[in-house]
Symmetry: C2
Subunit: 456 residues, 2 copies
Amino acid sequence: MSITIMTQDLMALHISQNAEAMQRFVEEHPLADCAEAFTQLLDNQSLSSKEAGQLLLLLSLEKQAALFGYFSLRWQEKLAEQLDAQEVAQLTELMPHDERADLLTQLEPEFQSEVLDQMDSEERLDIERLVSYPEDCVGAVMTSDFATLEAHHTVEEAIRQLRSIARERETIYLAYVVDAQQRLQGTVSLRDLVVSEPSATVAEIMTQVLIFVRVDEAQNVAAQAISKYDLLALPVLDHQNRMVGIVTYDDAMDVAEEEADRHIHKSAAVDFAGNLKEASVGLMYRKRVFWLVLLVFGNLFSGAGIAYFEDTIQAYVALVFFLPLLIGSSGNAGAQSATLMVRAIATGEVIGKDWAKMLAKELFIAGLLGITMAMAVSLLGLWRGGPEIALVVALTMQIVVVVGSVIGMSLPFVLSKLKFDPASASAPLVTTIADAVGVIIYFTVATSILDFPVAA
Amino acid sequence: MSITIMTQDLMALHISQNAEAMQRFVEEHPLADCAEAFTQLLDNQSLSSKEAGQLLLLLSLEKQAALFGYFSLRWQEKLAEQLDAQEVAQLTELMPHDERADLLTQLEPEFQSEVLDQMDSEERLDIERLVSYPEDCVGAVMTSDFATLEAHHTVEEAIRQLRSIARERETIYLAYVVDAQQRLQGTVSLRDLVVSEPSATVAEIMTQVLIFVRVDEAQNVAAQAISKYDLLALPVLDHQNRMVGIVTYDDAMDVAEEEADRHIHKSAAVDFAGNLKEASVGLMYRKRVFWLVLLVFGNLFSGAGIAYFEDTIQAYVALVFFLPLLIGSSGNAGAQSATLMVRAIATGEVIGKDWAKMLAKELFIAGLLGITMAMAVSLLGLWRGGPEIALVVALTMQIVVVVGSVIGMSLPFVLSKLKFDPASASAPLVTTIADAVGVIIYFTVATSILDFPVAA
């Protein structure tokens, strides 16, 4: 399973151009690994896309079509450019409908229409419909090659029917029973068919459809439903209740993974979903600079707080020693509770009306955390500045940990209430807010407890 | 699909105790939703676990077994306690093998052995084997109810065989061809069987097994393989190459989700994977306090840095104004790159040897980010403290953004090299380290540029 060895084999095949050996190569290795080996050779320019295209053409059309979907869209496009319109049309006819739609959207408009001209009108219409859906909706991830049956079929006829279309359909394990208007009436699994009497009708054995999605819903909704209800595939309906596609479990896994990526990156104030190694410097700069600059303004509040208390600082420079510690702890506690809360909201585990209950619990937990931290720093305060400083530091720690935690846990709810993505309550944002609040609390406590020469 | 309406229906069924209506209820709603409605009623104590248990007993044993797996383990345990050992044994015999093993581990040891005594020895051995695997390994998530075939079977015999075991097996869509020693020889999909000649043998149509996992590997490995290779199920082998189980795509989705949870939480220095609403105050306190206290020590370095430069601060109190801004920006830039890198390492997109290449890119991006930020703050420095302060602040900003980013991107690699989980390079940890380094850079730059009365 070593990709490095596979790349060496591929280079040997490139030299020999032995079609039989090439066919055997893709049969003996998982397609995902074959594509990875190809990609490595393309990335480090051991193979040009022209040479890779020639190697692929040695394969049977079925294998070409199956392998193609495992390349990144960028390489799919480059490889397709090496073929003529007719070759691409032949290839795409055998590809899963969702993958071929993705590929065709990548092509130059002119080449794309040449390819479409080579296809028969039914396939063309299918592609044009699939590419018309906006990027993040279910329509853009679903596939239209699902198996359908009619209610009056017998089990025997149904099995024969599924057998005849097995090669062209993404899955035949679930078949959808539709009426003449393509309205969904039920589902039948191949498992049900196999265990039923051959003379029974589909109507008798079909299961009522309980879970479906609309074509314009968010992809995430489909992925969550597939995961929650343990589905193999989820039917997609339009607003006339016509069956227009299915989302399969493997596409749902990809959506969930991308969603997790996006979520994790947002937690650090970078809204990026994609391949980090392939992303350009300019793209990453743009994705990161916005939040960094925005947070500068947040930090100015901390600065302003410090400026306001300049006299206090001048009198007790020792206070500055504890500044990073106190505002850091406030920010850390806040980042913890924000992250816990954002994830719980994203997975649907916690909803808006749980806020009050979660707040009570958070206050309690943060209170305990604050006491622990206050005890730790009071010793430090005693050592660095005497009992008065110790009191100031311990009291501040107790307050800022609680306040930071409450800010961290409430912000996601507030954002979600204001129709923003709760994931924008990133650790840096919460830390920045908690810092500013922490500065003010710290010096307010200090000013009210300590004696000042200026006040004297 | 509203859970609230379902809870009302359930309360009505609780009053009527109508077995037929109860059976219809679970047929008309997705099982996951039924379990959710039950859980809500149990959570807010509208139903006691005894009453819920009575309602469940109205169902056919098949439905009970199917529904049971959708409850959280905590409620499964409470509900099982309402039944006697024989009832639990009957129920678990119909449950998927992985789910029933999970349930039995939850029971009191005494009750558990009573239940096991009620089962026949084969089932008992199966459970005892499944529960013996450590928590995070493949063995603990796999199921042992997979379908097997023998190579000499004809397609017709194979279909008949699968039909006869369809009801007891988690999936019959993939069957595993094994020899007399249970060693895996190949797989056959139901799709292949359905499209092949009835007289062909299994040996002729089976596919070579290219992807499998060992029973003691991490669950995450299995989940990633299923996602990467688009598998329906992944065979699990022991070290004698005997087939001991399968991991199905739906379990892989659960593993991936838990993994993402854990990952996201680690990014905020809380190592927690579970239900936030159900987690006790004590548990959350323990999960959070460790890192918070640890980070206190990190922040002490910042404090020590400040103490070292106390004279500088005394002379230019205005410098403190920029302190949160500068160290905050360093930490934010670091948190961004750490998060991007940790995720890229976790998904296998970036590996150890990419470090140098990623570093070069990061230096370039961070350089650009630093220039932008430096320009922004230099104006501020001019306004608050004149040209000299502006120079100090801009120069520091440029340096700390680059240094923070490099720390953020390198730390995950270092941790991974030292065999720690790279995800421990959480935003709070990176922020704390970047803070300390930022303090030192700031005052070093300030001390070398500004004139000091003490030096005069």
